[in-house]
Subunit: 339 residues, 4 copies
């Protein structure tokens, strides 16, 4: 159950309401976000929702049978739009393109990528400065200094930044330099990190876990939302299966399913989804047709020399061609009625 | 190693050649298809291919390092086109649409489906008369009499038939009434069935196994090809993973990978691939963008009343809309250069 | 619903009974086995079972909510014992050891394996004469002649034979030479094969599918049972997962689960379950502790020279040691009360 | 490559050595643990190891081809023993039993569990005070105050504590109250957490990831070890597969494989591994036979009333019986020679 309260609800009204909800056997979590206040009721008893109709201070009340509540489409039918400022959005009915290298490597690299993005009309740049690596001996990224440098150059160029946050202590130090915090596939169920990201007012993009279910991805989003942050983007990036001909198995089924279950925008990462450069474009275009609201892919001036993930990274010519094909495919998709 | 022999090679020439191949440590399987004769050599030794250059009766010779040989693109670069007659093809550069019910149920049903296909310009009808069912107590199909009836009505209408063959003994009884034998996902590694399908001169569509790898699908095709039948179509239909929000996990990564490894056409079954009617169209269109040469989906006049798979079956209005969108998406794809 | 009828039920009594069952909305399949006659009712309606109490000719009546019926423990609580003759059993409360090579290779090989089994007190020999192979170019076994030779030598030595049947046409030709027909992991859902094995009166051991569920294994057993053959053994042999450090993932969880759901005996194949010779003994002993009624493993005089599966095959010294440890472990297990 | 240096190596000697290693193309990470100093060299070039023979200050030098180095058995053949004090060990050749509730709930609960453990001779108590939960609305544990209370009671009773640490900031606050930090299955690749656990001098037990590979588990252990902490225990707890008849698929294959690849002790968690109370004992005993050095399972005075995981938790009678059976099974295993 989700109860949206009026902005002018009094404490007395709220206490009376919560008391009554407790009486029907529901436990209440009060959630305050930048957009409003919600009372999320968890319980299993059946009751007549009209019982609450006469209470003062209620804006709206919804029964939500899903295990996740605030990210469910069952109470919020309108899609959530993520406004990154300067006219840049990630939202239903739009096609956000995000591109950039796996790792931020140098000032020179940042500059050429930004030039490529500007030439191609791409507004959001991806890149890693804190890199989760299976081996402790591998390159772990340029860190916060790399991010500051990147931010400076990106702001000049009017480019937004999406980059991975790996631990709670990084949230604050990164805050001034990111537009979207990315939660990586190994941290999808790092609940402390999700809790803390609920306290910031910047967008958060949550990648599906290495072998995470669709349900778990929505539960992870619920953590951030119930922590107070509604600016959420979901990202399908391939799952682990028995098949080894590709790096991961890109699960495009997840796109229409997530879009039907949640009001949050859904983007797809075809680079990790297949892991083979040559086939990234086909998967990107497939993702567009599956109903994605955005595509995030890897590009680098010389993929063969990239510090990481070179085998799945497009060069700039391929990237420019793909961005154009994504836009054409999306334009066609918009003309298609759904029955 | 694959050696294509000239049509006029003498037995003596062939014996001499095979003797020499054996000498370098390779075992030879002689494969005769309707199109030609091949000597497939299996072994691991390194040798200089020029050693065989002076032998008479050789058309061409190829080293194929894959475990599958005759279905590999390493020796046959040109895509294989499946000609079903009357101008109906399944081939690279084309978009074959195959639609119909899960199960053939009655004459009335066959008639209305055929009328729908004709109205929509679809040339190939799918449907099951022998149904593999998990439970022995479930409906197992109308059998050979259903197929005969179906064939009669389809031929009148100029419609081709693709339907599942479940066992060796059915191959011959079905022969006069099918255009494409379908090998189902539970029979992908039924090697006896594959062997026997190598002996017929009709097209065979092999579905990927319930949890089959891409490599295994190609090996299964190799069985049929090495048995003598080159008319092969590969079909991605979703794989079994831990995710249960969809019936299967449609693995569109498999499409460009199969197309790059093999010269055979690749079609996609979005109905089984996601298993949820509402989302079949998105997955079908995604499949087109992934590079598929055809789409096979389920449609029925009243899906809710279908004997099986109703939950993933489109009604005729949805089917007509989808067929049109498939064609538009394919038309766009054809304008896209690949870098 | 399963109704066991009395042996002297008249046709009129049976018709009356079936009519009444149909009236409550259940469809009846009549199953005759060597042991009795059952009416299996499939339906979803609720009804009062006492309604049938007064019908004549009924031995017993059970509600079985599982999708499988006749193999369920819900109607037959007593475990089923498979009697292979000469005092050899596969049954609950006993420990059947089955060992032998992956492939039957030669008379010499058969003789030395049999000598080893006799010396070790093992009564059942495994071995393949029809081999399912991923590649059409691999060794496919000695075939029926190999089986006849094997049978002759085994009978002399008082050893029972378990070997794989791959297709319907082999059932009859193998009949005189096998004690247990094995259905391989690629044929677990070869429903025609299962149907036909329901018509023979010899034991059938069904291996779990490559990625088959526990439920599907029971459904496959239901096929054979409802075809008329109650002599069934279930076999866990490892499933396909993302892990590649072992050939398969041996799922010992399946053993107590299968034993709790079904009255059929359960055996475990640690050789395929882990696929690494060095660790087969540990997995065999684990299987004993999981509650298995038997162990089937691969042994060969010189595993390194075996035609197939050598990497997971024990030599005779290892086999003798393992057989002894299996027996000791089973002896300990029998002393353990379950709470 | 791992170079163990002598305790009295001079800085000059070390610099000279590192310079030479760099010259053959290897990058050096210096690792100092409580036990010694190691230079871990990462590179791919071939070189003659004798080249380093004459350098001063070297204790020993090993080539380790695995991706993990310090946890590999290739350089440290002797098994690592974890000494928890007061004669309590987790080590090869021994059988550590760890038991307790899923969640620490109250003083009363702690007391009765401790009484049970003492009566049963179990020396290590498990329990969660920080609980990772899929849903933000679920019970998240008593936190640090619960841990302090638990510690006080456990110390009095001479019982050691193993409990989950979820984030970096908890390491220090928990330090005085734990004997073993547990890294949960959702944090196996939380690299920051692993890094920081490398800096403490208490034992760390790493659970295999929800769908983690054996290789990844070893890499995660490498993080902690290379951070400076050698006191590591690996834990198999079941993996995610397509099978849903059990909560997870307990992968006992992992036990002998881990033991052969690493010198670290390996324990098994049958409670999460199968998730069904009734079958936990069979899986625990199977784990003993697979070669595990310890078993960790859940027990509670009234499992039906446990705050979490009640369905897989044993009552005290079952726990006492199981502990006894574990010991008997282990005693038998110790008598078994391995061939």
């Amino acid at each position: 159950m989700i109860i949206q309260t009026k902005s002018d609800i009094s404490e007395a009204q709220k206490d009376k309401l919560i008391g009554e909800i407790n009486r029907v056997g529901y436990k209440i979590t009060e959630v305050k976000t930048q957009k409003g206040t919600y009372l999320v009721g968890i319980g299993t008893a059946d009751f007549d929702i009209r019982r609450f109709g006469h209470f003062e201070g209620i804006e709206d009340i919804h029964i939500v049978s899903d295990d996740y509540k605030l990210v469910s489409k069952k109470w919020k039918v309108d899609p959530t739009a993520i406004d990154l400022g300067d006219g840049v959005f990630i939202k239903d009915g739009d096609m956000a393109i995000m591109a950039g290298p796996c790792s931020i490597e140098s000032e020179e690299q940042i500059r050429v990528v930004i030039d490529h993005l500007k030439a191609t009309g791409i507004k959001i740049m991806r890149g890693g400065v804190f890199k989760p690596r299976s081996s402790p001996y591998a390159f772990r990224g340029l860190g916060i200094d790399g991010l500051k440098l990147w931010y400076e150059l990106a702001r000049e160029a009017g480019i937004k930044i999406v980059t991975e946050v790996m631990q709670v202590s990084q949230i604050e130090e990164m805050y001034d330099y990111v537009d979207i915090y990315q939660v990586g596939a190994r941290n999808t169920q790092n609940f402390n990190l999700l809790d803390e990201l609920g306290r910031v007012d910047k967008a958060v993009m949550i990648k599906r876990g290495i072998s995470g279910t669709i349900e778990e991805l929505l539960q992870s989003a619920e953590y951030v939302f119930s922590g107070g942050n509604e600016k959420l983007v979901l990202c399908e990036r391939g799952i682990r299966t028995y098949e080894r001909a590709s790096r991961n198995t890109l699960d495009l089924n997840a796109v229409p399913i997530l879009k039907s279950k949640s009001h949050l925008p859904v983007v797809v990462d075809p680079s990790h989804g297949i892991g083979i450069r040559e086939f990234v474009p086909q998967m990107a275009l497939s993702a567009v047709m599956s109903g994605a609201d955005g595509i995030i892919y890897e590009t680098h001036q010389v993929p063969e020399k990239a510090y990481s993930d070179g085998q799945q990274t497009l060069n700039f010519a391929q990237s420019a061609l793909l961005a154009d094909q994504i836009r054409q495919t999306f334009a066609l998709r918009k003309t298609f009625p759904l029955l």
